[in-house]
């Protein structure tokens, strides 16, 4: 029996959220005299700065200082990849429309923003590289194309009885965290700097601020209480604000704060990578994939940022849940004069999966089969079969898949959602419906858990047990709504066998837990939970040793259970045990550390075991479309998802529901648009549509797979942040089925997002026989 884990505790900040007391970065009361910052932005996407006249900005009301690139104490490169291609302020040339050119420091947010518009800017414009086609033509690769091979795909395809080839284009996605980027810098008496920021990566902010000011990292302290959403958008892109605030605070000696208004946030920061995937597949009469080739083209934006690992992860998920005996994956990472695309839930994985799921749909249509049949014959060999001695099948990058439960999970979901019956019913319904058409699809997810940059898979924690039995914990993870703090508190409570209310979680702080990795890659609970557990166990072991000695008994009889410390027949409260230990001069504080075992990875060769384990899931989506207008409605969604032994089922189900809806938004309605000059046209929620309450599926059933992680993760749970996002691929596939039904053809190459206009056009084109490849 557990006391705290595996239970549906509500979010620890819920009472603060519902009463308006929860403070986000911009809500932190600032000392009197705090200054406010705004960036002046480039009005051109590409070119050389001929003249930058900041005099009118300096003269504007409320302006205290204006800094251009030359006014910085030293050159600042914000690149998380240390690529040297991301100056805080443009130096000589501009690379996208919206790039920060100069920094205004003023007495109010509005004064700074108003002044920022007053600069005289003259840019000798060049034709910007905006699209994937532009970038291919210009050859703007960030690095040479990366190619991973397993077997001989070309030969396998050539020898296969059937072949398909085609292309899918999948658009990007704005994060639209409800809280925009924000930071606050407080200069300290000794020249140090204290930063509050809305960031998933406080250590990187600390590092960048220290670098920008020429300080040791120990002189910079970064705290994050919470974010109003992150989704990857605050992994690297918050550095600009924090560093700007730190420099301005250092220059003026006054506290400085900055927030992006929504339009600035959308215009300045990067988004999910748009991708084009060209594919070719050879397969047998059952739909078994014999050889597959993928060519990925990613639109990376103006700087390197995290594009290389994002593009790698797209390649790493090119197989999704399917065994590909012969496969070649080639990837080009293309620099464009647009916002620098960055991490976003799934980190390239969703884009990679769209390729193989399209292949499956195409193969099924070619053979006249139910796509689910084709999926089933290609799923990785089950864990049970591997355990029984059959060889594990390997991924395209050589990692044996030893933990696959996807076949059983798909079977259970198909049964419980009555997939086969409903598919047959839909076919009948479509035959009799003159206009509205329906579609249904079941798609699986297999998502690799671990940072692919192996050294990031570590975490630290700091735990204090006070003499009254209360517990305070810190860890390196950041809270962005995902419930990490509650999960980690549950872990600590479990370690001491006390109610979760006895554990207090506090602000993430680089002064308490150093050298942290970003809270990203779904790894928050896995890594930080283990680190906290290690710290708690250290303290518990000290208590155990002390109590055993005091009571003259073996350590084995000291037990922490049901809220008490049992020493043989003596029963103490944790407070009594803690007080006694303190009086005996036993340390009640400890750090904890965790490094994920077993993983290693060579990204150039595309070989290794980048992932500690895989998380699985599947979804069945049913949609209806009106081919006349292209309107879509998601009628029903059934999800079965694997979170191992859930640390907190309520939080996990929330992640699944939220991830699914966000994924459905990406694939059906969220559309980014730029004009020919490179101006982002969708820079507000009045032009960029994200899901609202009425877009939610009419019927939405979410269930957790009953199992546990075969790897020794925190209480045998699995990571949950990203994997459910990709369950929404089922919606896109269901729409494509409905479009095909409307057009009376077996297959329609539907791109994403499948907006009403795109759907109406796809139906019209397919009816006219203008189907893609």
């Amino acid at each position: 029996m557990t006391v705290a884990v595996h239970k549906p505790h509500p979010h620890d900040s819920a009472p603060l959220h519902v009463s308006g007391k929860a403070r986000y970065t911009d809500d932190i009361p600032a000392p009197a005299g705090t200054l406010h910052l705004a960036f002046g932005l480039s009005p051109a996407a590409r070119g050389r700065i001929r003249r930058l006249d900041l005099a009118p900005v300096r003269a504007a009301e409320g302006v205290v200082a204006v800094l251009g690139a030359d006014d910085l104490p030293r050159p600042v490169d914000l690149s998380p990849a240390h690529a040297g291609d991301e100056p805080l302020l443009a130096t000589g040339t501009v690379h996208y429309l919206g790039q920060p050119l100069f920094l205004v420091v003023a007495t109010s947010h509005l004064a700074a923003r108003r002044a920022a518009r007053l600069a005289g800017i003259d840019i000798a414009g060049e034709k910007p590289v905006l699209t994937i086609d532009d970038a291919i033509a210009a050859g703007t690769d960030l690095e040479p194309p990366l190619e991973w091979r397993k077997g001989d795909a070309e030969a396998a395809i050539a020898a296969a009885p059937h072949r398909v080839r085609g292309r899918i284009e999948v658009g990007g996605q704005e994060h639209f965290y409800l809280e925009g980027h924000a930071a606050l810098a407080l200069p300290l008496e000794d020249g140090g700097m204290e930063i509050h920021a809305s960031t998933q990566h406080p250590t990187e902010i600390q590092h960048k601020v220290a670098e920008a000011l020429g300080l040791p990292m120990s002189w910079v302290r970064v705290s994050v209480r919470r974010m109003g959403g992150g989704f990857g958008g605050k992994e690297s892109q918050g550095s600009a604000l924090a560093v700007a605030c730190a420099i301005a605070a250092w220059k003026t000696g006054r506290p400085c704060r900055m927030r992006y208004d929504r339009d600035d946030d959308m215009i300045i920061t990067g988004k999910r990578h748009e991708i084009r995937i060209d594919y070719e597949a050879g397969f047998d009469a059952d739909g078994r994939l014999l050889g597959v080739r993928f060519a990925h083209f990613l639109r990376c934006g103006w700087s390197t940022d995290l594009s290389l690992p994002v593009a790698d992860r797209a390649m790493l998920h090119a197989d999704n849940a399917y065994h590909l005996p012969h496969v070649t994956i080639r990837s080009r990472r293309l620099r464009t004069n647009t916002q620098s695309n960055t991490a976003f839930r799934g980190f390239g994985g969703p884009q990679g999966m769209m390729g193989i799921e399209r292949v499956i749909q195409h193969v099924a249509a070619t053979l006249g089969k139910d796509p689910l049949e084709v999926r089933r014959v290609n799923l990785y060999r089950p864990m049970a079969a591997v355990a029984a001695g059959e060889a594990a099948q390997t991924t395209p990058y050589g990692q044996p898949v030893e933990d696959s439960i996807i076949d059983a999970l798909v079977d259970r979901l198909a049964r419980e959602a009555r997939y086969a019956e409903r598919r047959a019913a839909i076919a009948r319904w479509n035959a009799g419906s003159p206009v509205i058409k329906r579609g249904i699809a079941l798609t699986p997810v297999k998502f690799g858990i671990s940072f692919t940059l192996t050294h990031l898979n570590q975490a630290g924690a700091l735990v204090h047990l006070y003499q009254d039995g209360s517990i305070r914990i810190n860890h390196g993870g950041t809270e962005m709504g995902q419930g990490l703090n509650m999960k980690v508190a549950q872990v600590a409570a479990e370690a001491f066998s006390v109610p979760v209310e006895a554990v207090r979680i506090t602000t993430t702080d680089t002064a308490r837990v150093p050298n942290t990795s970003a809270t990203a890659a779904s790894s928050g609970s896995d890594l930080n939970g283990m680190a906290v557990k290690a710290a708690c166990e250290t303290i518990r072991a000290r208590l155990t040793r002390f109590l055993a000695e005091r009571h003259q008994c073996p350590e084995e009889v000291v037990r922490f259970s049901e809220g008490r410390v049992h020493v043989g027949t003596n029963v103490l409260t944790l407070a009594e045990a803690a007080r006694a230990a303190h009086e005996a001069r036993i340390s009640l504080s400890s750090t904890g550390f965790y490094a994920t075992p077993k993983i290693h990875w060579d990204r150039t060769r595309g070989q290794g075991r980048p992932f500690f384990y895989f998380a699985y899931g599947a979804a069945v989506s049913e949609v209806a479309i009106d081919p006349l207008t292209g309107e879509t409605r998601i009628l029903r969604v059934d999800v079965l998802h694997d979170v191992g032994r859930s640390l907190n089922p309520a939080i996990d189900i929330g992640q699944i529901e939220g991830g699914f809806v966000q994924g459905a938004g990406w694939l059906t309605m969220e559309e980014l648009a730029w004009d020919e000059r490179g101006r982002l046209l969708t820079h507000a929620p009045s032009t960029y549509k994200i899901p609202v309450a009425s877009d939610r599926p009419r019927i939405f059933n979410v269930a957790l797979w009953d199992g546990e992680n075969r790897e020794p993760t925190i209480y045998r749970s699995k990571a949950v942040g990203e994997p459910p996002f990709m369950l929404a691929i089922s919606v896109h596939q269901a729409i494509a089925e409905a479009v095909a039904a409307a057009a009376g053809v077996p297959f329609v190459a539907l791109d994403a997002p499948a907006t009403p206009e795109r759907i109406a056009l796809a139906v019209r084109n397919a009816r006219a026989g203008e189907n893609a490849p």
Binding site: V18, A22, L178, E179, R262, G658, P685, P691, S694, F700
Partner: protein, 155 residues
């Protein structure tokens, strides 16, 4: 500068503001009521929703001078004076109707407005009423559940 007076969460307030000051700016920066959030600038997201004379309004799309003489209720005014959460607030907590929490104050204010005019809304009606409240985390499922539960609890 013009002088404005209003009641905010039951307390009288008088202040000098520039006419162009938005109500949300007044609440957050002049009164320190930071529970009302700014999530967009184009009247879509609803994170800034407050009640003006008992009616739901977006405080980012209203001037503070327009609220002169009005009774304003913000999220900070939704709990009992002793801090006891209101029924809707409690329902959002109990039914996990929040994740990052940034949209929550606006959601609670919208839910309160809905339940005042329609004490027993269907799921469909709840979804329709929340058109002007964006949430990027939850997928709305638990938000709708929370509003339904609040309606039932208020009976």
């Amino acid at each position: 500068m013009v002088e404005i007076s209003m009641t905010v969460n039951g307390k009288p307030v008088t202040a000098q503001v520039e006419p162009r000051t938005l109500l949300v700016t007044f609440l957050r920066e002049h009164l320190g009521l930071t529970g009302t959030h700014v999530g967009c600038d184009t009247s879509q997201c609803g994170a800034c929703n407050v009640h003006v004379n008992g009616m739901l309004a977006k405080s980012c799309t209203m001037l503070a001078v327009e609220a002169d003489g009005a009774e304003i209720v913000t999220i900070e005014g939704m709990a009992a004076p002793d801090g006891t959460l209101g029924v809707i607030q409690q329902a959002f907590q109990d039914h996990h109707g929040l994740q990052c929490g940034f949209c929550t104050p606006g959601m609670v204010m919208s839910a309160a407005a809905l339940l005042r005019e329609n004490p027993d809304p269907s799921e469909e009606e709840i979804r329709a009423f929340l058109e002007g409240n964006l949430c990027r985390c939850t997928g709305y499922h638990n938000i709708v559940k929370a509003v339904r539960a609040a309606a039932e609890a208020m009976g």
